[in-house]
Amino acid sequence: MESRINEFREGLLNTLKEIAYPLVAILISVIAGGILVYSFGKDPVLAYTSMIKGSLGDWNKFGETLVTVTPLILTGLSITFAFKCNLFNIGVEGQFIMGAIAAVWAGWAFAGLPAILHLTLTLLVGAAAGGIWASIIGWLQAKVGSHVVINGIMMNYIAMYTSNFLVRTALNVSGKAYSVEIADTAKLWRFSQAFVQFKHSRLHTGIIIALIVALVAYYILNKTVRGYEIRAVGFNPDAAEYGGINVSKNIILSMLVAGMFAGLAGAIMTTGVQYRVNTLFGFTGYGLDGISVALVGNIHPIGVILSAFLFGVMQKGGPLMQIQGIPKEVVGIIQGIIILFVAANFVKVIMGNIKQRKELKKTALQEGVE
């Protein structure tokens, strides 16, 4: 019994240690943002209170914040899943775009199917599109050896122009700068249909899907053989190979799953919020924000949920700050500073490992001398 309590205490301490640094990073960045606001003669307290009021002030605002949190959880999970295999899935933005446009196609082309079936199919098509888009990057890394970051960046732009091409041609009927609308049978259920509190928000069941996916991601990574293999490849591919793990297969597979998460995020934006896709003049940002979300969430599925919520609050609080005369770009500045801080720590962990290895080497050398 006692050993169990100790085990629990140790686990708790480790968790606290892990979340301590992201919290410190957030705190420092919030203070830095406050100083910036103050130095331009504005009230930092007003800035942050309006940020909170604008995002959590009432049920509708809370609902709208969750609408933003939903895709952020999924793109954050996408980054997390690939990162566990030591792959930096910067192509998440492209996978998000492909998921969104594929969902428009499925939601429009299969009109007439029963509602549940049509919605499920649409979400799956979106996830599959993101998964395929990502596994091309994974395949190129595993089989050809070209870098996952370079190909990811390139495929983000290719996805954007592919989507624009489809919006202008095959998925366009109006001649306008947006696509056809999906059928009602492919739309996610909205909370406003049953709860009067959420009457003026677009909150939909996508948030529940995102939370379930986070648990699934946690389960796959930590409780299955597949997850163990993926993490082993990420930790040391040579050792994994030696231990009989197929490195290429796991690289492609983890990119496939990461891409499916991102594609699902896009599909949920289509079926829950937009119902169509507009011509893009730049990235939506949901994918790239997933990088920040995953980093602040400590590359952990549960951490991602919390950090997505934080970013949702910051982003949805922006407009009210703007009304109070404080440019909403403060949010982006804070976000940038947070990532810089977290990135610096990341490495402290690695540096700790290096130190350890050095000490090992030193003892090995001493033994050699003796």
């Binding site: 910036l36 331009f40 930096f88 910067i90 190129l140 050809v144 070209s146 870098h147 970051v149 370079i150 190909n151 960046i153 390139m154 495929m155 732009y157 290719i158 122009y161 592919t162 624009n164 091409f165 202008r168 041609t169 730049g282 790239l288 990088i291 920040s292 980093l295 440019p327 770009e329 403060v330 949010v331 982006g332 500045i333 976000q335 940038g336 500073i337 990532i339 810089l340 990135a343 610096a344 990341f346 490495v347 402290k348 690695i350 540096m351 290096i354 290895r357 050095k358 080497k361």
Partner: protein, 296 residues
């Protein structure tokens, strides 16, 4: 297009290609220095934004475009230093730091734009470099910089050191080369060049700063660098080629291919090149890996 000769159209396209290639050339030369020394610079796009904004800000404050150019150089260099410091001292993941710089740059410039000019969107008109002949100062400077970069990288001891640091930092260190110093210098140079590239947009081809005016040009420059096989002249030629794709779209209206294909062409070509389908492009061996002194 009746009455307009083929040569005239060709002339227009060539001029337009060179104009749109100008900012790309600066940024990809910058990327070349950084990546040849082993540091990935994904922040090129953000640093260009900083350069474009700083150029307008300093030109606005002093009334001289030369001060604007100097401002872009200094601010670009400072952001280069930030990337260098994070990735060399903290050994932070270079891709993550670059992403942070891009986010910071976009938000910071828009924030300052609103605070200084009191409105979002764009700044007032400022003094800029007017065209001399068909191009402005920046275009001529870009071509000079290509030659200078080539000379420095391949004909000087410094260039040899840079390349050895990017290929095998341990071996370079053993021979007495200060790996960290070389990396700091190269990443700062990359910031300076990307800053000038940004300035060429705001006080070269225009006379103001607009939100989103860089719009991914840093990433096209990165693509050009890779497509040009991490070589100054190769990168410059790739920039001209990518500039040509843009120019073709603006000049010709009835193209047999979708315009989106032209826009996506630089990225498709780069993927093919880096994956070895059309003349394999291989980067510096130690690119992206933080160097740790004394580690085996």
């Amino acid at each position: 297009m009746e009455g307009v000769g083929f040569l005239t159209i060709l002339g227009i396209i060539v001029t337009a290609s060179i104009r749109s290639a100008t900012p790309l050339i600066f940024a990809s030369l910058g990327g070349n220095f950084s990546e040849r020394s082993g540091v990935f610079n994904i922040g090129l796009d953000g640093i260009m934004t900083i350069g474009a904004f700083s150029a307008v800000f300093f030109s606005y404050k002093t009334g001289s475009p030369w001060a604007g150019l100097l401002g872009a150089i200094v601010m670009g260099g400072l952001f280069g230093l930030l990337l260098a410091f994070m990735s060399i001292y903290f050994k932070a993941n270079q891709v993550i730091v670059g992403t942070a710089i891009n986010i910071l740059a976009a938000s910071l410039t828009t924030f300052l734009l609103v605070e200084i000019w009191g409105r979002p969107g764009q700044t007032d008109n400022v003094e800029y470099f007017k065209a001399v002949g068909p191009f402005n100062l920046f275009t001529y400077l870009a071509f000079v910089m290509v030659i200078v970069s080539y000379y420095v990288m391949y004909k000087t001891p410094f260039g040899l050191r840079v390349r050895s640091v990017g290929e095998h930092p341990r071996a370079a260190d053993t021979l007495g080369i200060n790996v960290y110093a070389i990396q700091y210098i190269c990443v700062i140079i990359s910031g300076v060049l990307a800053g000038i590239g940004g300035a060429s947009l705001s006080i070269g081809s225009m006379s103001l700063f607009k939100e989103g005016m860089v719009a991914g040009k840093g990433f096209i420059a990165l693509a050009a660098l890779i497509f040009g096989k991490w070589h100054p002249i190769g990168a410059a030629l790739a920039c001209l080629f990518f500039g040509f794709a843009v120019a073709l779209e603006t000049v010709a209206t009835n193209l047999p291919v979708p315009r989106e294909l032209l826009y996506a062409l630089p990225y498709i070509m780069t993927m093919l090149a880096v994956s070895g389908f059309v003349g394999r492009s291989v980067g510096p061996a130690a690119g992206g890996i933080p160097y740790e002194k004394g580690e085996k």
